[in-house]
């Protein structure tokens, strides 16, 4: 009984997070104020991190919080503040309903196609979680899969890992080179 209630509560919580994420994401597109949109994006990313926890990908959820919510969006907000002359400058003045409507139409088609495609995938994830975590039950309090993730990341996928780090270094140098004021 308790177990059933627990699973029902978890399902309810899952759908609340989903609703929050979708609402925030929609707000990103329709908000007139750009900074409000950026803030809504932070909420949407928070929601995605929540879904990662439901998928027992704790490490990924933490990385999502640190990199996206704590890093990228703060930078985006910085850029918004620097690319507006006044506070009012962050409010978009003109809206073309054609653009909004056309965009919504394309998005709707994408969504409908996705839902039609995925409707057959009935894999219950709660069970999958239980199966996947079973192998790690013996390790004390390490998150399931966290250790395996480390092994895979620095073993089988070492090359992509190193390539990504070189790419980040290049991007860093490039970004600094682009924004640096030229001294003549």
């Amino acid at each position: 009984m308790v177990r059933a209630m627990h699973s029902m509560l978890a399902t309810l919580l899952f759908w609340i997070v989903v609703l929050m994420t979708v609402t925030a994401a929609t707000f990103v597109v329709v908000a007139r104020n750009i900074l409000h949109a950026a803030f809504a994006l932070a909420v949407a990313f928070l929601g995605v991190a929540g879904i990662y926890i439901f998928l027992h990908a704790d490490f990924l959820a933490a990385v999502q919080l640190i990199v996206y919510v704590g890093g990228i969006i703060v930078l985006v907000m910085f850029a918004i503040m620097f690319s507006a002359h006044t506070q009012e400058g962050t409010v978009e003045p003109r809206r073309t309903w054609l653009a909004l409507g056309g965009g919504a139409l394309v998005a709707g088609v994408v969504l409908a196609a996705t839902i039609m495609l995925i409707n057959r995938l009935q894999v219950p994830l709660a069970e999958a979680n239980a199966h996947a975590d079973a192998a790690y039950r013996t390790t004390a309090s390490a998150a399931p899969g966290e250790i395996a993730l480390g092994h895979v990341l620095l073993g089988e996928y070492l090359l992509p890992f190193e390539v990504a780090s070189i790419l980040i270094l290049a991007a860093l140098v490039g970004a600094v080179a682009i924004v640096r004021k030229e001294t003549r």
């Binding site: 900074l35 932070a42 490490f59 919080l65 704590g70």
Partner: protein, 379 residues
């Protein structure tokens, strides 16, 4: 891991650490406000708040009961935070006309909430046992505990940034931008430091880190010894401890890193336009952040709730040992809070370019060196 799979009786016990931790934090914050003013007064050779107290000619007892307590002021000023709170609540809650009202009202919550969330992963004491049920004194033992600390401290940047921007005032905006840049810069060092601590202990869980600090290899005895001060993480990772403490100051925007507030140039920085309880929330958030940083520092580097002689007390009575461990962690946290106050009223403020230079040219290279050395040692 978000696993609530437990039976109904355990759910009740699960609430105990939650109530304990958050109740204690809320109760201690007003005390810290009083303490800060007293410490400041001692350092500057003043008296500090000494009027609004319980006993004495101006005390609460005199006002309510007509009992002066012999005319001597005992612990005068102890009720000063209460008076401050009444003053803050009864003030006008002013929102500037040109401010972004939504974000202006939201920002103080982001100053208050993240430091609270840090306490979620801090183990505050040894396990209590009630009739066969073991109650771990930790709100949630996350497998990714240290990453949690890092991610909630990065959330704190939102409070200052949104608050500074939404006020629509140049002082606030400058304060907010400075604060965000500073917090992001010092977060890198913090992450690198946490990485080397993780390498040393082979665990991200703060609970396991505390347990790892319970025993250490005693070179004199030539075997593992229990519960000495020698098992503290600070002896294994001294540079990391130093860097982490410096970053903690910068993350909390405390002097010598209080660029964002910087009364001399920026009026009040990001909270210039805030008044009443919204200002009060920024204010409280700072003290909770001090407590949170004290708790994390003592957990990572100073043995957490462990104390010499824990094993022998626990053998006699586990619950007594757990209660002592609670008090021990509280004492350690208070020592670090007092240290932060001492530093604040002693050191002058950095210039903004000095803050950035220290962060990027000194602390990050040092943290990297520490990381590489730790990696080589643990190879």
């Amino acid at each position: 891991m978000l696993s609530l799979g437990l039976d109904a009786s355990a759910v009740g016990w699960k609430l105990l650490p939650v109530l304990l931790v958050f109740g204690a934090v809320l109760a201690v914050v007003p005390l810290l406000v009083y303490l800060e003013r007293k410490v400041c007064a001692w350092i500057q050779n003043r008296v500090g708040p000494n009027r609004v107290g319980l006993l004495g000619p101006d005390g609460l007892a005199q006002g309510v009961l007509g009992f002066s307590g012999g005319g001597k002021r005992i612990l005068g000023g102890l009720l000063q935070p209460l008076a401050d709170a009444i003053k803050l609540i009864s003030k006008e809650d002013f929102i500037p006309a040109q401010a972004d009202k939504f974000l202006f009202s939201l920002a103080p919550f982001f100053a208050l909430l993240p430091p609270f969330l840090t306490f979620v992963v801090v183990p505050v004491g040894a396990d209590l046992t009630f009739g066969g049920t073991t109650v771990p004194l930790i709100v949630a033992d996350l497998g990714v505990g240290m990453l949690w600390v890092l991610s909630v401290s990065s959330l704190a940047a939102y409070g200052v940034q949104l608050g500074g921007w939404a006020s629509n005032s140049k002082f606030s905006l400058l304060g907010g931008v400075r604060a965000t840049a500073q917090m992001i810069s010092y977060e890198i060092t913090m992450g690198l430091v946490l990485l080397s601590v993780f390498m040393h202990y082979d665990s991200l869980s703060l609970r396991e880190i505390v347990q790892a600090q319970a025993t250490y290899f005693d070179p004199l005895l030539g075997r593992l010894a229990a519960n000495g001060l020698g098992s503290w993480g600070v002896w294994h990772q001294p540079l990391a401890a130093l860097l982490f403490v410096i970053c903690a100051f910068a993350e909390n925007n405390r002097l010598p890193f209080d660029m964002p507030e910087c009364e001399a140039e920026l009026v009040g920085g990001y909270h210039t336009e805030y008044s009443s309880m919204k200002f009060g929330m920024f204010f409280q958030g700072e003290y909770i952040a001090m407590l949170a940083m004290g708790a994390v520092i003592s957990t990572l580097f100073f043995g957490g709730w462990h104390y010499p002689g824990y094993a022998s007390v626990a053998a006699a009575s586990p619950n007594l040992a757990a209660l002592i461990s609670l008090a021990v962690l509280g004492a350690k946290v208070m020592i670090f809070v007092l240290f932060q106050m001492w530093v604040r009223w002693t050191l002058p403020r950095f210039r903004y370019d000095q803050v950035m230079e220290l962060g990027w040219k000194v602390l990050i290279p040092l943290a990297l060196v520490n990381l590489v050395v730790t990696a080589l040692v643990n190879l």
